[in-house]
Amino acid sequence: MYIDLMLNIGMILLKIAVVIGVALLHVAYATYWERKVIGHMQVRLGPIEVGPHGLLQPIADGVKLFFKEDIIPANADKPLFYIAPVIFFVSTMTALSVLPFFEGFVIADINIGLLFLFAMSSLGAYGIIISGWSSNSKYAFLGGLRSASQVISYEIAMGMSLVGVMIMAGSLNLSDIVKAQQQYPTGMFAVPQFLGFFIFTVSALAETNRLPFDLPEAESELVAGYFTEYSGFRFALFFLGEYTGMLVMSSISAICFLGGWTVPQFITGWFPFLLQLPAWFWVLVFLAKVYAFMFFYYWVRATLPRYRYDQLMSIGWKMLIPLALLNIVVTAMVKILL
């Protein structure tokens, strides 16, 4: 009995190690990919010198950041200054634990997976507000306040956009949501839930403080926003947290709207040999969807300018939330009538 328990715990620890390791590697290369994509969109090359095609650039950046001096402002609130990046980083990393990457591979297959993701994404706001406040700097404080109100406002729209998915799938368990999409001919909720998908995409951009909603770290106004005063290791934590947040948002969108690790049924109908492939193969499909969404992030960043703050708020409250409510009502009515 104890051996079983130990094996179980060992298995879980192994899974956690694999997921964290792979996620960190993906995060590192997400930064590389972003720089490449935006570089080419701006008719530049992006990183190219370190290693072949600059492939070792993220590792060089990481090594540099982790060996830099950790500067703490003299009037900072030290305990909170220390803990803020950790809160931010941990809350985004914890969200990875409920994401199913392929059939049967998920660290914690809990029934309230989607709610857990909301909870974790709302906690990231603490790291941001606290880092802004404890730095005792005007730029950081303004960035923190902006980020907090932005994250709270858009979380409502995001949660409501996913309610449509919950109604259609009839479950909060992420694996069940993926399986529920198999019943639809297109194999993804993005088609019947196009309004929800649109709202989710916009609020995912705002939730992760990315352009065109990157007001909390608007370089031209606030230096670097809430992490102006951070350097070295702690700055790296914020950076990793931000990109892990993007990875998590892309994964949620892949799971809830794009069919997770599955492909539409007509494709497996055309190519029956796909069904013989091992389960881990489908992680590639999942990753392709995640990276497609990440590419959209970069694409938008390379294209759109920053919104004004009142525009941001009015988009959130006056456009996205009413649309999301409409989406909920329509979805529920269709579900009852059909």
Partner: protein, 183 residues
Amino acid sequence: MTAAKLIRAIFFIEILKGLALTFKTMFTPAVTRRYPKVKRPVQPGFRGLHALAKDENGKMKCVGCGLCGAYCPSKCIYIYTSDGKDHKKVVDRYEIEVLRCIYCGFCVEACPFGAITLSEHYEYSDYSREPFYMTKDKLLSNWDKHFAGEKGKRYFRDFWRPKSEDFIGYEGQAMFKGIKNEK
């Protein structure tokens, strides 16, 4: 709001146009030059690191008149001369603080003999200030490095032709005439 405007607002036509544009430019070749590996050719007449010219016999052209130092707007040229044998002027030290130089080229224009030149060399960054204080020896060796042979001749022929080459003065003018007559 007209129907066309409404449709444009609902489907984000402007934003989609922008996205299409960036997507298109993603597949155009980059215009980046990878500098240390690919260098742009230096245009003739470029004003780079200073050098003191030598004549055919390998002797310094500078006679220590001090016109360059007098013209220099940032006052970064120091010349010390002394009385040598036969009361000939000897240039003891000829020094340039390169970090203060603004590369205006006035010294080159001022020099009657084409002694001070600005070479085409521009990659001379360093970690300390010492190497940027050019002494006479360094400036002369710069000439050997960057203007040896045909290059130096071309420099004077095409661009910084010294005033003394075309100087036609009246008889009484001592300095330039004498040199012209020697040739």
